[in-house]
Amino acid sequence: MKWINENLYISPINTYIDPSKPVENAIITHGHADHAKPGHKNVLATKETINIMKIRYGENCAQNFQELTLNKTLKIDDIKITFYPAGHILGSVQVLAEYKGERINFTGDYKTKKDKTCENFEPVKCHTLVTEATFGLPVFQHPNEHNEIKKLLRSLELFPKRPHLVGVYALGKAQRIIGLLRQQRYDKEIFIHGALEKLCNYYVEEKIFLGKFLKTNLKDKKVYQGEIILAPPSSIKNVWSRKFEDPIICQASGWMSIKQRAKQSLVELPLIISDHADWNELTQYIKLTGAENVYVTHGREEAIVHWCKLNQINGLALSLSGREDEEDL
């Protein structure tokens, strides 16, 4: 990677991908806080990612925004940049950079599973793959998400009086859970914590069907009996959750496959639903790209690097700092 270094810096055009500090030129793969930071001078991203950044950080969170449409190539000097859908959240992309015939693909965060709340993932051939590995251990094999949602619905039948508080990340996961519930023909209103409102509204603006959702500002505790309430996991652990009587604490996250981890966070009903690729998706995609070199940005990089070695692929861990285990929040 002579023209790109381990900080995801494309030197010929003085541009960083998902930089953790303010820079002059930034390409942003998607709107999650550990990828999209405020304060850059020029930002290149999809229309949706730009809108999400503005919703989260304000209209002026960067000096200039430039939109790039999916599958359209932008030429900057000798470098060609193309966005391909990453299937992670609304507006999320993989960034393909081409220079003198060499193709490097940055996955950002991604999943290959179908998702009605964002563009579906598209595979891209490349020489070098720069991939995430949030769930890069063979113990992570995410189950079918519809079956997980059915667990929630079954629990509602079993405990018709208890509010079901579901911990979800505000961007992406919340809307996906609502979407999945609607796919199961759950057509009651769904309650949401105030922190989710703006982003849910934005998804609706983008013509994603979420049905009816309501903020939880009702005083009468009885209203929430047997209802689904979505909130950021941190709110479920603080005083906010006291307005619900005898709730069942649920959490929707890929980490929930580890029972001890669910127990630690006092989750009674774990829902294993992730917006990231699991082990099989990660390794299958590496093979599919035909990449000779694989660089792992963040997550369980050791195991992916080891797997690459077993498969005669050059693997290297970049261990970028500032990347959190997103779904762990």
């Binding site: 113990v139 580890i258 630690q264 006092l266 009903l269 774990p270 050791e302 080891h306």
Partner: protein
Amino acid sequence: MRSFSELINKLLLTSSRNRKVDVLCDYFKNAPDPDRGFTLAIITNSLEIKNIPISKIKEIVRETVDEELFALSYDYVGDLAETISLIWPNKENGNLPQISKMISILKNINKNELTRKIHSFLSIANETERWALIKLISGGLRIGVSSRLAKTALAKFGEKKLDDIEKIWHGIDPPYENLFKWLCDSGPFPEIDLKNTFNPMMLANPLEDKDFINLNCNNFVAEWKWDGIRVQIIINDTKVKIFSRTGDDISLSFPEIKTLEKNMVILDGELLVGRNHIPMNFNSLQQRLNRKKVSLKHIDDFPAFVKLYDILYLNNDDLREKNWEERRNLLENWYYKNKNEFFDLSKIINFNSWKNLTAIRKNEIIDEQHEGLMIKRKSSPYISGRPKGHWYKWKKDPKTVDAILMYAVRGHGKRSSYYSDFTFGLWDGNQLSPIGKAYFGFNDNELKILDKFVRNNTIKKYGPVREVEKTFVIEVAFDSVNSSTRHKSGVALRFPRIKRLREDKPTSEVIQLCEFKLEFL
């Protein structure tokens, strides 16, 4: 296996005690016999499948999964059963047998078919069933359900008294069909064989400073807390049965303890090794524990005897309702009538004020023999469990040493995401020599500091073990030190725990191993 695995999964994830009781009640209501009885046995650790070594399971997994990937996964997940259940890549159609059938298959499995059968079970199982299956094989569910809680659920399920269940518990066997009949009002109260049944023991609470103010010393007696193992002895027609505190029959390990007494009696005491009723240290006692076959030389070198504390039954009469003074009289009568080399009477310590007793504790404790003092209320009956306000244990003050953190491993259960098992050492010349391991004593905040230190200062990894930069000093408290041939340092600490973090202390101030031995050994 499905309903069993879902039950233990639910129990693991339910934190409220009352809800756990409800979950169990529900299961007892819906599960058929003998499934519910076998499940009860597994939950209360009354039944173990010991014939399949967990190393065999690991071997089967290793044939299927790359070793390094498995090690990384295990390191991350922290629980073996979970790691295997999540990593297992093969799927087969079918249903696993019910829990009762599964137990019988596992218990009778022969070596030739072991690998094939386990492989097939793992593939047929869903992820939760796999987890439950491995827990079943490896023993120790760690789902936060004590046998007390299980009995509480039984009592609620059958609308019976918990104490009645406790009384017969050690006299009934899996799958407990007579128990469930009685609970469902379709059978009599199960009869038990008194002569062969362990009775739950009475245990002491730790003495806290505030207790002193409230207690009148005239109402109490004191005895030494001997440093052996607490036992219950049932004698009948000259036969002697010895049970550990948890109800395990350990008679076979101590065949020399005999009596000519024909009458039935149940005694409570401390098992020790030594000559002329003078105890040797705990290390010597350990030579005698967990041995199925005992050689004459062993008995010669480490002869066992019992210091008698209490009496529970005499001639089939239950004495547990009598107060301590009455029981002590009966105990002394029995002792003087049946005096022999194997039985000694625990001495009553005379004291006239708490101050006086404090001085006795300070000056008269013999390190190798006593763990501290027991303080017992004269008017107390013998109540099983750990009732409040009756017996107190007043341990001797722990010893402490400053040591350097060397290695760390992730914990289990609640702590599986924290480095919480620590190895520490002292200087041996200019090298460090590990002297022990500790995994408690610290509070949550200190654990976070330690965990962070480990993560940021790892210099080498050996599988799940991380070797750290030798810069962090911790104060370790421990009850005593024994010399040990099994440890390179030549010492073994008893009951070590991390008392304080001493990040402020330079490692050069940590003492040499030889100094430590001089001072404590």
